[in-house]
């Protein structure tokens, strides 16, 4: 079974009296350990897709199944005339916590706490005990090669190091999928290469990665590239790497 399955997913935003169709019926499956890039001009719907996949937002219609869990199913919803086909806010939070690891363009670390504490945060919400948490957070920081900086605050770290902390935070709870939204957008090209290398290694180690970018050479790190245009998938093809 596919790790991630989207069927006829639409998303309509109501802005004033105007309905904006951000997604117009997306079908997409991502297998376990796949390495997928999503490309497209701004306004093409790729950010909305990431929000839907990341359970920050729910589709207007369609079906979304993540790792065997039905996040949204409007057939079921219509049939049972209940909220059964939809997860509650708290359930969505739980899915985000357990199955998703976000990596953002702007890192999104909490500024006044240490790297270690930042990495610990998802585990706090998952309900781990402090001792366990610290072990797991250290392990994640080791994976991104930042264990020697664990007591530094984000403002004492370089951009690349901050993004590594963010990646460690995404990894720490062993998520089903890592969602990286323009992870190199705020980094210089050398650091970008280092971060991409790290993501490549993580994928090689068995993680599933979905990457949003508008840079072709970044996108080409993935094995498969999906192009978005006007809320629809315009193309879906293997990269050179994917063809192996």
């Amino acid at each position: 079974m596919a790790l991630l399955e989207l069927k006829k997913v639409t998303k309509v935003y109501q802005i004033g009296t105007v309905a904006v169709h951000a997604l117009r019926g997306i079908d997409l499956t991502v297998e376990k350990n796949e390495y997928l890039s999503v490309m497209g001009p701004s306004g093409s719907g790729k950010s909305t897709l990431m929000n839907v996949i990341g359970c920050l937002d729910t589709p207007t219609s369609g079906t979304y199944i993540l790792d065997g869990k039905t996040v949204h199913n409007d057939e079921k919803k219509a049939a049972e005339n209940s909220t059964n086909g939809m997860l509650s806010d708290d359930d969505l939070a739980y899915v985000r916590n357990q199955k998703i690891g976000f990596v953002f363009q702007t890192f999104n670390l909490l500024p006044r706490i240490t790297a270690l504490h930042n990495v610990e945060l998802p585990l706090i919400y998952a309900g781990f005990h402090k001792k366990e948490r610290i072990e797991m957070a250290k392990e994640a920081l080791r994976k991104v090669n930042l264990i020697d900086r664990m007591h530094h605050q984000p403002n004492e770290l370089s951009g690349g190091q901050r993004q590594r902390v963010a990646i460690a935070r995404a990894l720490v709870n062993n998520p089903s999928i890592i969602l990286a939204d323009e992870p190199t957008g705020n980094l210089d090209s050398k650091t970008s290469q280092e971060i991409m290398q790290l993501l490549d290694e993580l994928q090689a180690a068995g993680n599933t990665i979905v990457l949003v970018t508008h840079e072709t050479d970044i996108a080409n790190h993935a094995h498969r590239v999906v192009h978005f245009l006007d809320g629809l998938i315009a193309s879906d093809e293997q990269t050179l790497k994917g063809k192996g």
Partner: protein, 409 residues
């Protein structure tokens, strides 16, 4: 997310915004401080009143023209228009009353310095004219020499019994008995000294000169002088009977019509304590009102600052939500922060209040108190304020849309 994590993160955020947190909890501090300070001071006063109000001796009550303490204005004429309590009233009362009590008449004035050789007291000495029964109603004891006698009274002798403070100032190195002191140019011979009695409310009880009432009346009385009668009851179980009988006789002597109220005041320990409690009760209510308003303002301040904090930390909320924080987690975080702020304010306010409230007993040389009940009430009320005024900002934070929040700059 367990409670400890919530507490830690709340404390962290308070620590990270020291100045703002401090200013916010200042309101709470002032509110709690005012109530605890006033309550502590009143408790101190009350406990010292209850222990010290043997000013009169427990078995003694007073009859006088004016009430011991007058609350509010407007009644003054009622008291002023009363007939003075006179020496002849006193003599008639003594003749007609035969119960188990001694009746003393006394008058008092201050403002005259006492002179002895080259020494002179300040003009704060209480000069008291008394009848011989004073010995039984006053609570003073003779240290050396003798009390005012009936003969002293009858012959209006210029004799005096003096307190220890007066001795300390005038003649610390002399044997006071037989010395001659001068009051308003008239010579008095010292016939006795009083044992030290100490002080009440910081006021020394030993700064007194006792002379025969008749002498006092001759030298110092004017048309406003009204005597006081001190009635010392021998048998405490007869206290109320004696009081009623005295009132009955005095009304007859002073021709008070049957339906009119007494034209004199009865002052006893319990009536003094009642009066005192009336005053402190009013102060307590005032303090309660003021601090309620202060705490209400403080609560609004806390709500305001928490709303600012929620806006300021919108992005943090987005981040926390994106990594799995539930609504309840965010809500708890902000609610506990508000409660913590008020609690810290409460503790500081309580400590300050108790310290300042206890400055009074230090200056009055009485025991300090710790108003545990008010401290607990303070803590509980502040928790309630934190909850009431912290809920709305916390709910607002919990309801933020994660996508909007993450995008917030």
């Amino acid at each position: 997310m367990n409670i400890r994590e919530v507490l830690t993160s709340s404390l962290d955020s308070i620590r990270q915004n020291k100045l703002r947190s401090f200013l916010t909890l200042l309101g709470v501090v002032i509110g709690v401080f005012s109530i605890i300070g006033v309550m502590t001071a009143i408790n101190v006063l009350q406990s010292s009143v209850e222990t010290n109000l043997n000013i009169l001796g427990t078995n003694t009550f007073f009859i006088q023209k004016y009430p011991a303490v007058q609350i509010g204005g407007g009644h003054n004429w009622k008291y002023r228009n009363r007939k003075n309590l006179t020496y002849s009233d006193y003599l008639q009362l003594k003749d007609s009353f035969s119960g188990p009590a001694t009746i003393t008449a006394e008058d008092w004035h201050g403002g005259d310095p006492i002179k002895f050789k080259d020494n002179q007291t300040k003009n704060n000495v209480g000069i008291q004219g008394v009848t011989p029964e004073w010995e039984f109603s006053s609570g003073y004891f003779i240290q050396s020499g003798r009390m005012i006698s009936r003969t002293d009274m009858e012959q209006m002798r210029n004799v005096a019994v003096i307190g220890q403070d007066v001795i300390d100032v005038l003649m610390p190195l002399y044997d006071p008995i037989g010395q001659t002191i001068t009051i308003r140019g008239v010579k008095f011979s010292v016939i006795g000294t009083l044992e030290r009695k100490g002080s009440i409310f910081g006021q020394s009880e030993d700064n007194v000169v006792i002379i025969p009432l008749t002498t006092h009346m001759k030298m110092f009385a004017n048309r406003w002088s009204s005597l006081g009668y001190a009635i010392a009851v021998m048998d405490m179980s007869k206290f109320d009977d004696v009081r009623d009988e005295i009132v009955f006789h005095l009304r007859l002597i002073r021709n008070v019509p049957l339906t009119a109220e007494n034209d004199f005041e009865i002052v006893s320990n319990s009536s003094l304590i009642d009066t005192f409690n009336q005053i402190t009760g009013a102060i307590k209510i005032a303090a309660l009102l003021i601090s309620s308003i202060a705490l209400l303002a403080a609560g609004i301040g806390i709500m305001n600052i928490m709303l600012v904090s929620v806006t300021e930390r919108t992005r943090e909320i987005g981040i926390r939500k994106s990594i799995g924080a539930k609504k309840r987690d965010i809500m708890n975080q902000f609610l506990f922060e508000a409660i913590f702020l008020t609690e810290i304010g409460a503790v500081i306010g309580i400590v300050l209040g108790i310290v300042v409230g206890n400055l009074l007993p230090v200056t009055m040389k009485v025991d300090g108190v710790f108003p545990l009940d008010w401290a607990l009430i303070g803590i509980i009320v502040c928790s309630a304020i934190g909850i009431v005024f912290g809920t709305y900002p916390a709910v607002k934070a919990a309801r933020l849309d994660p996508i909007e929040a993450l995008r917030y700059e």
